[in-house]
Symmetry: C2
Subunit: 277 residues, 2 copies
């Protein structure tokens, strides 16, 4: 496999890297380089174990995510840790699930590095709302159904449903809405969307552990979203999608097809409708 020319990973610098949604095959070449050269890897809970195994054996691995029950390191502590490791002359890999700039707090950590005058590079990753959904056969956009898509975090930094947003406008804006980390406040999200004008019968899906070995998907409606999610015991991390993109999965679930699912070439029944006149 021929590799492209890549920039050097300098000692004393930090690379803020997105690891993508789970499948190590979705790591970028730059992420793989960083894993193979880093002296220290500071990683989040959303980083897949198969990905961490690609770090060089001599690297220090530090966990900086939330783990059930235990208090998680605070953001300023993580930033200070990155600065300290870089000042020790290490190549520091800060590895985050998905993309560092999509609900990943990468900007905050980068600004702490700027304040400390530590050189850094941002290495984007595939965000779960695009790449994770693709592993469930749900396209973030599709010509026939949506010319816009909105990504929304299911909880803000205080753990509450975001309150700085105009929910009626969000509900009516993009035909497809993708929520990250939305299980905790699912009932509130459903209520706000329906109050904002979304049809309760609209298609919705929940994708848990997207693009990992534990991926599970349920498809339902906005009205039944909470009950069906609970009945299926869906676990975090989970993406919630509302909109017609969900119906495309019966045609685009390529991963399911590899396990025997028969795909429908006309999932929106457009041809059927055209032929009917």
């Amino acid at each position: 496999m021929q590799l492209p020319l890549l920039p050097p990973f300098e000692p004393g610098s930090v690379w803020l890297v997105g690891a993508g949604p789970g499948d190590p095959g979705l790591l970028t070449v730059l992420a793989l380089k960083a894993l193979s050269e880093a002296d220290a890897v500071v990683y989040d809970a959303l980083v897949d174990e198969r990905t961490l195994k690609l770090a060089r054996p001599e690297a220090i691995l530090e966990f900086a995510g939330k783990r059930g029950g235990k208090p998680s390191p605070k953001q300023p502590d993580i930033s200070r840790r990155l600065v300290r490791l870089a000042r020790e002359g290490k190549r520091v890999l800060r590895l985050k699930g998905g993309d560092p700039f999509v609900f990943g707090r990468g900007g905050e950590e980068a600004l702490a590095l700027v304040a400390a005058k530590v050189p850094f590079r941002i290495v984007p990753g595939i965000t779960a709302g695009v790449g994770g959904l693709a592993y469930a056969g749900i396209p973030a956009t599709h010509r026939d159904v949506n010319e816009a898509v909105t990504f929304i975090t299911g909880h803000n930094v205080s753990g509450e449903v975001p309150d700085n947003l105009d929910w009626p406008a969000l509900a009516r804006g993009a035909p497809v809405l993708v929520f990250y980390m939305a299980l905790k406040h699912l009932a509130q999200i459903r209520d706000r969307l329906i109050a904002g004008g979304r049809d309760a019968s609209e298609a919705a899906a929940v994708v848990s552990h997207a693009a990992t070995d534990r991926q599970r998907t349920i498809t339902t409606t906005l009205a039944r979203l909470v009950e069906d999610t609970e009945a299926a015991k869906m676990e975090p991390p989970a993406l919630v999608v509302v909109g017609p993109a969900v119906r495309l999965a019966s045609g685009l679930d390529w991963l399911g097809a590899m396990k025997g699912r028969v795909l429908d070439p006309d999932p929106l029944k457009l041809k059927a409708r055209r032929e009917a006149g």
Copy 2:
């Protein structure tokens, strides 16, 4: 560099692959594998030349994008071509700029493969609205400024401004709006956003050829967006961003910093405001 375990690229199958926004370092490991093994590569105009050089020398390379002046292949022709190449027993790599499911028409091509019973895999790529903007120091989301982001195509399949969208709702919904391929209808987009309630003095940026050697960025306001874009002779492909994320570039432009730009650790003046207040 240790590689993760990857699935086989079977003869007679098509991999629909996103090549990311430009920098070949943002190719995924799966994309790199596909390039090194494909018998035929059918690629778009937005795929970087440095990326195509990674294809194996024996591969057939076919261009399937728009090129100034010349008529571009129609979508059904491209789909038929993919089916024919696969039926010849080739490993077919359909390579698209960005991500195949983000304004990339990947879903349409995949459904044509389903209809023809050609096995396929979707390989997500880094979409320009996230990864391309990151190369200009503009985060798609940032804790202090936006809990939602909307991606919108600047023109629909007929080449017009999308008319199926509720523009006033889009304008008031997410604090950060990212437009793909927006140069053609920039004045209409500006007018609709201001009519929908966006402040004309709000920050806006245009990033042309993001994450390539030809990347250029201008920052301006919504009011002056059209004039400043024309004065700077910004070329397609270009991303247009509206919202407070733009102001973060003075702190997060890591690529600029590598060329000597001095970054501001407090680009939103939050600390300054807190200290004053």
